[in-house]
């Protein structure tokens, strides 16, 4: 009996297939309709309802490997705050955070998101930098920004900054916006923020955005209203960009979402195909 040549699929074949789909989807610019979710609407509405001249605390807990999902969220929310004349205090619980904040804020200022007025460092915004210690650090700076951060990321004294002297602690901060990826405690940090402010009888809103990998772990806290609004992964970022009505050239997450959809179609097709092959092989035996 003649031996039929066996079709052997190696992982490298799948990687090449994946790469091909991504490149084709990028070039073809497939049109995908994105309907913003209820949660994304809530996120947008919550920032829209912050009065001008209020102060918002941004907490950045991700590294450069998560920038495809979280940079668009951070960029868009900073843009919305700048457009609404909201003051911003930035802190980070990851070592890479201050660099990410610097890049995003400077880019937005350069692109004119703050309007003709511009922004004054130390008055309209401040990058306090990185602090180690997770939840212990959160407790510390919420109680006293200046004591925990005597100097900002660039080495300037925080005691000489108007934004810090007007907001020495969390009492005057209108909302907290936290962006985090899957590192330890990341899921939990927004919940700690909420518990801290609730414990002091404050109505400070806590908004969060995370990478898709930890979304399933965050939903229980959204359902229990421990987080007031939530952006889930790249889809959440794309929703938010559309809700903000950003010009098409500033769509980052929306563009990536197109490719994401193509990749998902490929993955679903592969799952269906391999299952069909498996069951057909089982029947033959």
């Amino acid at each position: 009996m003649e031996n039929k040549p066996k079709l052997e699929i190696k992982p490298i074949h799948l990687y090449i297939l994946l790469l091909t789909v991504i490149v084709v989807a990028e070039i073809m610019k497939i049109d995908v309709t994105i309907a913003p979710s209820k949660l994304s609407h809530q996120f947008y509405e919550k920032i829209s309802s912050i009065p001008p001249e209020s102060t918002v605390l941004f907490s950045v807990e991700y590294d450069f490997s998560s920038n495809t999902e979280l940079d668009p969220m951070l960029e868009a929310s900073v843009k919305q705050c700048m457009a609404r004349n909201i003051k911003m205090i930035f802190v980070s619980l990851t070592p890479e955070g201050p660099g990410i904040i610097h890049k995003v804020v400077e880019k937005n200022i350069k692109n004119g998101a703050s309007g003709e007025k511009g922004l004054i460092y130390g008055k309209d915004y401040v990058n306090l930098g990185y602090i180690t210690g997770g939840i212990i650090a959160v407790e510390s700076f919420m109680a006293d920004f200046q004591m925990t951060f005597p100097k900002d990321f660039y080495g300037h004294k925080t005691s000489e900054m108007e934004i810090i002297t007007l907001n020495p602690d969390i009492m005057n901060v209108n909302s907290i916006i936290d962006f985090s990826s899957g590192f330890i405690d990341a899921i939990y940090i927004p919940v700690v923020y909420k518990e801290f402010v609730k414990g002091r009888g404050l109505t400070t809103k806590v908004l969060a955005g995370t990478t898709a990998s930890i979304v399933a772990n965050v939903y229980p806290f959204v359902q229990s209203k421990q987080i007031d609004a939530f952006l889930a992964g790249l889809k959440g970022a794309a929703d938010y960009e559309l809700l903000l009505k950003l010009p098409e050239k500033e769509h980052k997450a929306v563009k990536t979402m197109r490719v994401q959809v193509a990749v998902h179609v490929l993955l679903i097709a592969l799952i269906v195909l391999t299952n069909v092959i498996f069951f057909l092989g089982k029947r033959k035996k």
Binding site: I12, T68, E69, I135, P150, Q226, G233, T256, Q260
Partner: protein
Amino acid sequence: MNISTDINIWIGAFLTVSVFSILFRDNIFYKFAEALFIGVSAGYFFSLWLYDILIPKLFEPLLRGELIYLVPLFLGLSLFLSFNQKTRWISKIPIAFAVGIYAGVNFIYYLRSYIILQISSNIFGFVVFTETGNIDWATSVNNIIVYVGVVTVLLNFLRTYKSNFFVKNAGNIGMIYIMIALGTAFGYTVMSRMSILIGRIEFLFNKVFGIAL
């Protein structure tokens, strides 16, 4: 097409391709990128901890004469005593200090966030009415699904302890809920990883070759 002339972009591109080359087989470019990443990370974190944490938050207060900061200095330095058998016991003091504080601070947060508020948020009516007095079918059905899920998933974990007809069948339903939850978590994880991959490929297209996508 507008190929980048920025050396930083090309270094980024070279390292991206070097890391991806592991998908083909282990090679010197991957090893180089891996070693460089570990080295740069270690160097970056060391300088960050030194200039952002140790100098402003420990050495500067000490130089100003705030002697209370000798306590964290002692606790920090005593960690190094773990290298010697005779002095190892001293290094357990800062570890106990850190674990104690962490456990104490977290206890209340965890108790409230993961237990009390999670239980209380799952106590709601089966049937929900709208403001006009009609039944809110969507919310009501959702609530029933949540109730069935909570009870059956808990019963699923009871099967190993006590298994009768009810517990077994309810546990089977609970298992379906668990599989859906795990499937959702896995699907989201795949989505996240794909986003990273797409991000790197977009970097190669946009930044390196200047192809607007």
